[in-house]
């Protein structure tokens, strides 16, 4: 696992906290205040789970879509699994269905230019680490939603294949197959990327 997103909560026993259960119950009956509490309790966790599943520029919109879906379907949440598990499932499904919303650049570095220059700097001036992050994120976006979801959940969020299968309503074999192809595709894409090829010993000087 490369970093943990705290998805261990997936295995937590169902809602020990009576207050939280009460909030869910009130949200199920359409109480707007309870829904606001649900958002307050879970927005950071959902945003973390959406990281790399959707383009960075779409994170805000997709977070909103997740909670709209939660509000629409919370009546169908019967408490058979932990709420966090159900929420994770909703999050992943909304992320998989999300269409690319923005096309704007996601450069997040500041470049200083000499005063005399009037033209915008060439893109190659982006610092390497920020550039590498942006490139890898762009490669993840090139994978199909199914492959990307499995790769991000397994290799970045550290979720077990069995749990991924449950979240995606599929079997472990399918998850492993998608993971295999997602990894090969990502490696091939990275090798073709001039800024990343060095990692694979292909473009080194």
């Amino acid at each position: 696992m490369l970093y943990s997103d705290g998805s261990a909560a997936l295995h937590a026993p169902a809602m020990r906290d009576a207050a939280r259960a009460d909030v869910i119950e009130r949200a199920r009956s359409g109480d707007a205040a309870a829904f606001r509490e649900l958002y307050a309790q879970h927005h950071r966790q959902v945003a973390r789970q959406l990281t790399f599943l959707v383009p960075r520029a779409d994170l805000e919109d997709v977070l909103q879509d997740v909670f709209i879906e939660v509000f629409r379907s919370i009546r169908r949440f019967e408490g058979k699994s932990a709420f966090t598990t159900w929420l994770y499932r909703v999050t992943v499904h909304v992320a998989m269905k999300a269409r690319r919303k923005h096309t704007r650049s996601r450069l997040d570095v500041v470049e200083e230019l000499p005063e005399s220059a009037d033209e915008r700097p060439l893109p190659v001036e982006v610092s390497l680490s920020a550039e590498r992050q942006a490139r890898v994120e762009a490669l993840l976006e090139k994978l199909s939603p199914k492959k990307r979801t499995v790769l991000v959940m397994h290799d970045l969020q550290g979720v077990e294949a069995q749990t991924i299968a449950e979240v995606l309503d599929t079997n472990v074999l399918t998850v492993r197959t998608r993971l295999f192809y997602a990894r090969r595709e990502l490696e091939a894409l990275a090798k073709d990327d001039p800024a990343l090829a060095d990692f694979f010993g292909g473009g080194g000087s």
């Binding site: 490369l2 945003a47 973390r48 923005h102 997040d108 500041v110 005063e115 001036e125 490696e187 990275a190």
Partner: protein
């Protein structure tokens, strides 16, 4: 033996200690599996280097405001056409009724119906507003709660009161309002915005209702200003038209641009004095996505301009359109500094003063030392040329490398210009140049380094 499977390759790539001897032995003797493990290691390194990110608090608040607005208004149906069936049916019925009325009364008596004061003004929708910019003295409170400081990025909801020396507001969701105001304002309630004492400028393409004393201004497509002070209300309409009504007498009239009217508080609507036109400037309204631009850390009084337009004077915090902008900073009594900045939607940006570009010109000796240092790095630069040669064996030519070197000698920025230079080589040159630390020049300097690439040495 078969080749290593995915799990075995991943275990080797991860350096898991408990890999069995047979796997290790096969790996040692199989170049194909070694390559696959190397690829897996590279991929893991690549993914492992990714920095997790999240939204800013401002973005989280924006989502919350939009969500609650939708929840309270009732979520749209997943099949929106169903929702249209009823209004469409009502429209059809109305059309039919009109048709019947026309048939029955083709020559109506010449009575002009006066517009009635609408009864449901109080129900005008309020949309959560994001603070785009607020002066340092700005405060807000909800209901009778305690006053708290108000700053760019905060979201105001119905029931909030504001006291400010100047603030710009825009709806958190896509609603056609842009507002600028000062003084004491109340949001929501009987009107969308009510002015205690102060003024509000609004550019609207969707219904907005503003109340000042007994004057109620409704506008759906207009640029206008309402101000209330010393028992007087002034309305200035610069574009479009607004409907003014008196909440006590129910009088009502339409004011079309250009017009400026003044009333004494409580006076009949018809007693308005027409005044010389008051200029109304459009409210500050940067397009979305917004980034939070924080210039509060700059020396006080620093004049700030963005893309050539004056933004204000520090301390200042403002939401601005994300994207690449040319930022100019002029501290009091100092020269202007300029820089390109990338504002990322939803993310904060803290402006800092770049080092003064002026300084003593680098000495000849210092330049000579830099030149010899660059010569020392020639092999690294040549490696970038080799990439070019790979793509085109006859590649040759002059490439201009521009460097911005800090006074410490660190290369701060690099850029290359050269016809036919492939992207991979250009990136390689920039990367290499940015990794260089040259002998200190004593001042920040911009160096133009011509690189002559010829394949003769090969």
């Amino acid at each position: 033996m078969k080749h290593l499977d995915e799990a075995q390759r991943e275990a080797l790539a991860a350096g898991v200690p408990e890999v069995d001897a047979a796997t290790v032995a096969h790996h040692a003797s199989c170049p194909q599996c070694q390559a696959a493990v190397r690829d897996a290691q590279a991929r893991r390194k690549l993914l492992g280097g990714l920095a997790p990110y999240t939204l800013s608090d401002m973005a989280f608040r924006r989502v919350e405001a939009r969500l609650m607005e939708q929840v309270e208004a009732g979520l749209p149906s997943r099949t929106p056409w169903l929702a249209w069936l009823i209004p469409a049916g009502a429209l059809a019925a109305m059309a039919l009724t009109l048709l019947v009325l026309q048939l029955r009364a083709p020559t109506a008596p010449e009575v002009v119906a006066l517009p009635k004061a609408p009864e449901k003004l109080a129900a005008a929708p309020f949309h959560p507003l994001t603070v785009l910019r607020a002066t340092a003295d700005s405060q807000t409170r909800t209901g009778e709660g305690a006053w708290r400081a108000l700053s760019a990025g905060d979201v105001l909801a119905s029931g909030d009161a504001v006291s400010s020396g100047g603030l710009a507001l825009a709806p958190a969701a896509d609603v056609g309002w842009a507002l600028e105001g000062r003084g004491s304002l109340a949001l929501g309630g009987a009107a969308t915005a009510s002015i205690g004492a102060g003024q509000l400028t609004a550019q609207v393409s969707e219904l907005l209702v503003v109340r000042a004393g007994t004057r109620q201004v409704e506008a759906a497509e207009a640029l206008f200003l309402v101000s209330r002070s010393a028992a007087e209300v002034v309305l200035s309409v610069a574009q479009g038209a607004v409907d003014v009504s008196d909440t006590v007498t129910r009088e009502r009239r339409r004011v079309t641009a250009p017009a400026t009217l003044r009333w004494a508080d409580g006076a009949p609507l018809s007693s308005a004095r027409e005044e010389a036109l008051m200029p109304v400037t459009s409210p500050f309204s940067p397009k979305k996505p917004w980034a939070r631009f924080d210039a509060s850390g700059l020396p006080a009084g620093t004049a700030i301009s963005l893309d050539g337009a004056a933004l204000g004077v520090s301390p200042l915090v403002s939401l601005l359109t994300a994207g690449r902008h040319r930022l100019s900073l002029t501290p009091p009594g100092e020269a202007t500094r300029e820089a390109w900045v990338d504002l990322v939607g939803g993310a904060p940006f803290v402006a800092t003063l770049p080092e003064a570009p002026e300084g003593p010109a680098p000495s000849e000796d210092a330049l000579a030392r830099v030149q010899s240092e660059l010569v020392r790095h020639r092999p690294k630069l040549a490696a970038c040329y080799e990439k070019w040669l790979k793509a085109n064996p006859s590649a040759a030519g002059t490439v201009e490398l521009s460097l911005v070197v800090a006074s410490s000698g660190k290369v701060k920025a690099a850029r290359v210009r050269g016809e036919a230079l492939p992207k991979a080589s250009a990136e390689c040159l920039v990367r290499t140049a940015k990794g260089l630390t040259l002998p200190p020049l004593g001042a920040e300097a911009e160096l133009e380094v011509p690189l002559v690439f010829t394949a003769g040495g090969r």
